[in-house]
């Protein structure tokens, strides 16, 4: 039985006091314990950013990768060893800026991993430039006269990329995000969870207070059908993206199940690699 203690790392995160990422870290640890996953079977990839530092703050197999590429690394790990729980986490710049393409393709590929974005609408680690989720007109170090671009909608992007699980939460509600992460990990296929995670140092607009006041809770809408893609798209449209809960979920065949025969059906990392004489013969047949 894994305990919270097992998941703890004796390193003080170098996040600023009050940073939203602390709650996300705690929620991941809690979710893992709740699901009774042994830490040695838990692999966490992260990108580069303040948020990306998360992989060093819990005692699992942690991989701090490249800016924007963590999802690709994560998919490689899962394909190599399907017995592992693979969670990938990073920032909004990392995931939707430089990493946007891998996000879209991971969603449609539907490998069984969970992707958590700590969305603070800013580039934290590089000290406060605009990010793809910064709203138009937003003042940052790189947009001193206001961001000239429209932001990305991570949820709509995930929808159109055919993600099979899409949820959104807010760092201020740690219980809720813990539950979303649990659901995401349990979901067979690609699960995307966007978490508003305030940057208390560089983002003075999207604060804890802002989200407390403005976020719409899907649970309050009994009409909402989270298996209806168009409804999901519309809901995001209506709420300007400030909505929390399970946005969309529909199980569909995961990538490995769609591969032919034995391909990827077992843990590849503990196989006997030496081929038998018969296997060698088979391999060469075509060229004889």
């Amino acid at each position: 039985m894994a305990t919270l203690h097992d998941y703890r790392m004796d390193i003080t995160p170098n996040w600023c006091p009050g940073c939203g990422d602390f709650s996300v870290l705690a929620a991941i640890q809690k979710a893992a314990v709740n699901l009774n996953i042994e830490p040695e079977n838990f692999v966490l990839q992260s990108g580069i950013g303040c948020s990306g530092r998360i992989s060093g703050y819990l005692n699992v197999y942690g991989m701090h990768t490249m800016h924007g590429r963590s999802l690709a690394v994560a998919q490689g790990v899962k394909l190599a060893n399907r017995d592992l729980t693979v969670v990938c986490a990073g920032g909004d710049g990392d995931g939707f800026g430089i990493g946007g393409n891998h996000f879209v393709h991971a969603a449609r590929r539907n490998i069984d991993i969970t992707y958590i974005v700590m969305d603070n609408q800013i580039y934290g680690l590089t000290k406060g430039q605009m990010s793809p989720t910064s709203p138009k007109g937003f003042l940052t170090k790189s947009s001193p006269e206001g961001n000239p671009e429209s932001p990305i909608s991570p949820l709509q992007l995930a929808l159109s990329a055919n993600a099979s699980f899409i949820a959104q939460g807010f760092s201020g509600d740690i219980k809720h995000i813990t539950s979303l992460i649990e659901q995401g990990i349990r979901h067979k296929g690609f699960a995307f969870i966007n978490i508003f995670s305030p940057c208390v140092t560089f983002n003075k607009v999207f604060t804890y207070d802002f989200f407390k006041q403005n976020i719409v809770n899907l649970d309050d809408d009994p009409q909402y059908d989270s298996t209806d893609r168009t409804m999901a798209f519309d809901k995001v449209e209506q709420t300007d993206g400030f909505v929390k809960g399970l946005i969309y979920r529909k199980e569909r065949m995961d990538f490995v199940d769609a591969l032919p025969g034995r391909s990827g059906k077992e843990n590849l990392s503990n196989q006997d690699l030496q081929l038998s004489a018969d296997q060698v013969q088979n391999l060469l047949q075509r060229y004889m």
Binding site: M63, M66, G76, R262, S263, S269, L275
Partner: protein, 581 residues
């Protein structure tokens, strides 16, 4: 009429017409008859149309490169004759299809014979114009005095999937070509009969790389299509499922190598294969693999650069990108096979080195090596000797006894190598990052730690064994030393043999590991040499520069460079040498 120990022919026509299948069937059948073959395909960057040709060299003894001279041209278009008639030997023969070649528009040089051969019409008569290729096979077979019987199996295998009727029809086409040639002329170039041989393969470097990967325990491949590497992805998509493995076509090369790093970290032998533009895109990740000490294998099927360059033409110009590519300084190993056999065997070796030294390993192929087909002798391959060495791995028992909560994956060791734990191993948890890190893999900006970790990673490469890092051929105390790497092996070898015949004291170092460079091994030969000629297919002399960096041979080193996209020929090498010496 001379009995020949070697003949060559060229088949040329429109791209997409199936020109290659002529070579394919000839090669399969002749290979089974005991001959050694080398098939080079010259193609261009378009899908249908445009001239393409296939050069087949057939020898009693092993052949390592295309011949500069042909006995026979099978011409389905004008270019086949226009571009290549000057390479025909005196007395050589052109068989052209009058349907597509208007011979009166071409001036045929003296001393050769051009004969209309109604390939298409004959094929049409037999039911399908497409079978003109089979008629050509029959004609060539007659010209080389090969019994038609041996082509049966080859044709059957080629068309088996399409049903017996098709097989029969194609056999008939071969026969028809055979008969018609015999009516036209005597057997012009009879090949010396070859005694029954041991088991052989006929395959391209890319095929060999794919097979070698599977033999070497590769169970994960992520790649993105690119000429001339795509075959490897396509092969492994077919092969790996038989061994439970996975091949993924990714959205781009950035994803491909990142997935490979993930799989390698997870304990699976993992690779990607690409060419120039892909190698450039992978540079950042190569640094990550180096910094996190993750074993991965990258095949680079070099082609004409820079940028899109000449995608269907040879170049050997990615040495910098492989050896020192990426920002900062990260360890890696670069192997350079020079024959199809080596291409196969370098793959298990690459995986062993990758896991042993926990770093990226490049296999530097090139377009000619990757796409040309060669005969491989099973006896040479000794596949049964392939060993899988998974490098230093920490045992579960050791972890169980340890008092550490976090495994010291990056503890400093004498040889720089630290035993790996992999996900799933209890108490093996640790962190990996491209940021400089301490023993547990957590970021550290401590200057002393930085020096310790950088030195640890560099130290690993000092242990890489150099025993097969070069191959040397030629007379022992050579005054003239040829140095090369990759697919130029055959041309350099042939040039050396010619020059030796003329009495020159020539030796040939072929570099089989480009990094870490076997400088001491090479120095043995460069010291004695008076003239050093570095043969490479690039414009700046990348290998020459590398050698100069390590060995003070500036005054006697002469780069023999070719960068027009055409494989260098033995006579180009010999004339370069003659001008120098």
């Amino acid at each position: 009429m001379n009995i020949k120990s070697e003949v060559s022919c060229l088949v040329g026509g429109m791209q997409g017409e199936g020109i290659e299948s002529v070579g394919e069937i000839l090669a399969k059948a002749l290979g089974r008859n005991g001959y050694y073959l080398f098939g080079y395909r010259n193609f261009s960057s378009r899908i249908k149309g445009g001239h393409s040709d296939f050069h087949l060299r057939i020898g009693k003894d092993p052949v390592y490169n295309a011949s500069e001279r042909f006995e026979l041209i099978l011409a389905f278009d004008h270019e086949s004759i226009e571009l290549h008639q000057r390479s025909l030997i005196d007395g050589g023969v052109i068989l052209f299809d009058p349907k597509t070649v208007k011979i009166d528009q071409i001036t045929i040089r003296g001393g050769i014979q051009s004969i209309a051969f109604p390939f298409s019409d004959m094929a049409a008569e037999l039911g399908s114009k497409q079978m003109k290729n089979m008629v050509a096979v029959g004609a060539a077979c007659a010209l080389f005095d090969q019994p038609i019987g041996v082509f049966g199996d080859a044709v059957r295998e080629q068309f088996a999937k399409k049903g017996e009727a098709i097989v029969e029809k194609n056999m008939a086409a071969v026969k028809k070509g055979h008969e018609f040639l015999q009516e036209l002329m005597d057997t012009r170039f009879p090949l010396e009969k070859q005694p029954q041989s041991g088991q052989r393969l006929f395959l391209s470097g890319n095929d060999a790389i794919s097979i070698g990967a599977v033999l070497g325990g590769c169970r994960f491949m992520a790649g993105y299509p690119i000429t001339p590497a795509s075959d490897i992805l396509e092969n492994l998509v077919q092969m790996l499922p038989n061994y439970g493995g996975v091949a993924v076509q990714t959205e781009d090369e950035l994803a491909a190598i990142a997935m490979v790093i993930g799989a390698g970290y997870a304990g699976t032998r993992a690779m990607t294969a690409t060419a120039g533009p892909g190698i450039s895109l992978m540079q950042e990740a190569i640094g990550l693999a180096g910094a996190t000490e993750t074993p991965i294998v990258i095949v680079d099927t070099q082609r004409g650069g820079p940028s899109s360059g000449m995608a269907t033409k040879i170049e050997q110009s990615d040495l910098h990108a492989m050896i020192t590519g990426t920002h900062g300084e990260a360890p890696r190993i670069v192997l350079a096979p020079s024959t199809v056999e080596e291409a196969m065997l370098d793959m298990p070796k690459a995986f062993n080195l990758a896991e042993k030294y926990q770093c990226p390993v490049f296999v530097a192929s090139d377009l000619v090596l990757s796409t040309s087909k060669q005969t491989c002798e099973m006896a040479n391959l000794q596949l049964e000797d392939i060993q899988i060495d998974r490098g230093k791995r920490v045992a579960e028992t050791e972890l169980a006894m340890s008092g550490d909560r976090v495994y010291k994956r990056f503890a400093i060791t004498d040889d720089g190598i630290t035993a790996r734990s992999i996900p799933g191993q209890k108490k093996g948890m640790h962190h990996v990052t491209g940021i400089e890190h301490g023993p547990t893999g957590h970021p550290s900006e401590n200057p002393a730690n930085r020096v310790a970790q950088m030195s640890k990673r560099a130290r690993k490469l000092q242990c890489v064994p150099m025993n097969d890092a070069i191959k040397y051929e030629g007379i022992p105390q050579a005054e003239v030393l040829l140095i090369g790497f990759g697919s130029t092996y055959g041309a350099i070898r042939e040039a050396r043999l010619w020059m030796q015949k003329e009495g020159a004291a020539v030796g040939h170092v072929h570099v089989r590991m480009l990094h870490p460079l076997p400088a001491a091994e090479i120095s043995q030969y460069t010291e004695k040499a008076k003239t050093i000629i570095v043969v490479e297919q690039n414009s700046t002399g990348q290998l020459a520069n590398l050698l100069k960096q390590h060995i003070s041979i500036h005054a006697k080193l002469h780069p023999c460079l070719k960068f027009d996209g055409v494989p260098i020929s033995p006579s180009e090498i010999t004339s370069f040498c003659r001008e120098l010496i």
